[in-house]
Amino acid sequence: MPTVAFTETIQRHVACPPTEVPGGTVREVLDAVFTGNPRARGYVLDEQGELRKHMAIFLDGRMILDRAGLSDAVQPESKLYVMQALSGG
């Protein structure tokens, strides 16, 4: 299953331990994470379900392309990192 890890800086506000969840797209993977951790959703996505402006998601070493639809394809062995962007601090 894909693994998801979160930036250390988010942990001060809401605990987001590394996790393994199923999913074939970034959206499906994040939905699976937030089902078990609903408060974290609003820290990563805005109310339109889009990645917050100053957040970034790396998928197997590359930043995802579809920040609004989160449609980038995820493989069973993929690694996702939910990070803060350098902007917005």
């Binding site: 609003g42 109310e47 402006k53 957040m55 962007a85």
Partner: protein
């Protein structure tokens, strides 16, 4: 008399209390985080704070009276964009975000119903909660009003609601100040809204539009609790007063400057109000490096520059629209500035005591138990 106040700053929420003779910082909440708005609720002692995390978005927290721990509550949210539609563009061709960017106003909605709240945001949403912030409802009558789409950014890139005045005679009567979009008023609890900024003047518009009530950049709107027909506006262009329930507004001649962001009115005397002026919109610094508070006691016929205890040379403090507050007695005032100074007066501004000159930039100052 209030003996405690909160200052919401760029780096935390500062709790400031009066000792035997001095006001000092007693505690800092959310140290390091961007606190943009605070409401110490006089009805039940709950303190609400809005945080604007650069990365993680806007959040709301509350501290119940007697509780030791803050709890995160629900952040107002804009409705989902209809499927397949693109975000709206503003007049500059920029995408208008359809998520809350800033909580810019937080007020008790009904004195008789603790937990009822109004919240104004950027972009220009007005939200209502009746359960102390656990759930929020967007006021769709104002959000869907065709004229709302004509609001534009003033102090920020996008328009927002920064002032919410609930009429002490009837909580269904509410007025909001929009930067920029004028004053909007409801008398039915928000079911219908009317523009209420006739008489305001906008020099930054073409002459034909300068008096259009919809194009007015209201910086701050306040209503006198004891004489609720009397109102004040600190506007981008100057200072305006209404004595007819905000139906009409009259511009005042003010020295040394009528530019600024903040205004408070005495809780019982509608003709007495305080302002913290800057030089002009082009020069947002104190006039000649003097920090002053401008006070009128005669409805704006004359103004008195209050300086005792305030820096009078090489001072560059600017006070934002929520940076000035008055307590329920009308005797105590406090203001905090962009350069981290905070002063308190216990004699209606005749003299000022320095609490600190080294705070982070101050966005909002509010007395506990007795705010304006």
């Amino acid at each position: 008399m209030s003996t405690r106040l909160f200052a919401a700053t760029r780096k935390g929420l500062f709790q400031i209390e009066r000792g035997k003779s001095r006001w000092t910082v007693k505690k800092v909440h959310f140290l390091g985080d961007n606190a943009t708005m605070v409401l110490p609720d006089p009805r039940d002692g709950t303190v609400y704070v809005a945080l604007g995390h650069g990365h993680f978005g806007v959040k709301l927290h509350r501290l119940r009276q007697g509780a030791r721990k803050w709890e995160e509550i629900t952040t107002p949210a804009l409705p989902p964009r209809p499927d397949g539609t693109a975000p709206r563009m503003d007049e500059m061709g920029r995408t208008i975000p359809d998520s809350v960017q800033l909580i810019w106003a937080l007020e008790p909605a009904d004195p008789a119903r603790p937990g009822s709240l109004w919240c104004g945001t950027i972009p220009g949403g007005l939200f209502r909660s009746d359960d102390a912030g656990m759930t929020w409802q967007l006021n769709t009558a104002l959000w869907d009003h065709p004229k709302r789409l004509e609001w534009v950014g003033g102090g920020a890139d996008y328009p927002g609601i920064h002032s919410v005045s609930v009429d002490p005679r009837d909580p269904r009567r509410v007025a909001v100040g929009v930067s920029t979009g004028g004053v909007w008023a409801t008398s039915d609890g928000g079911a219908t809204w009317k523009i209420s900024s006739h008489g305001l003047r906008a020099d930054y518009m073409p002459p034909e539009q300068a008096r259009d009530p919809h194009f007015q950049d209201v910086h701050r709107l306040v209503q006198c609790p004891g004489q609720p027909a009397e109102w004040w506006i600190q506007h981008h262009n100057g200072i305006f007063r209404s004595i007819d329930d905000a139906v009409s507004w009259r511009e005042l001649e003010v020295t040394p400057s009528s530019f600024g962001f903040a205004v408070v009115v005495h809780p019982r005397q509608g003709g007495t109000a305080w302002f913290v002026p800057g030089t002009s919109d082009q020069r947002r610094i104190p006039v000649d490096g003097h920090v002053i508070v401008n006070r009128t006691r005669d409805g704006g016929k004359t103004f008195e520059a209050l300086t005792k205890g305030l820096p009078q040379r090489q001072a560059y403090d600017i006070t934002y629209r929520h940076g000035l507050d008055i307590d329920a007695t009308g005797d105590r005032l406090a203001f905090g500035t962009t350069t981290g100074s905070l002063w308190v007066s216990e004699n209606q501004g005749d003299s000022w005591h320095t609490v600190s000159e080294h705070l982070p930039p101050v966005y909002c100052v509010r007395f506990v138990g007795a705010g304006s």
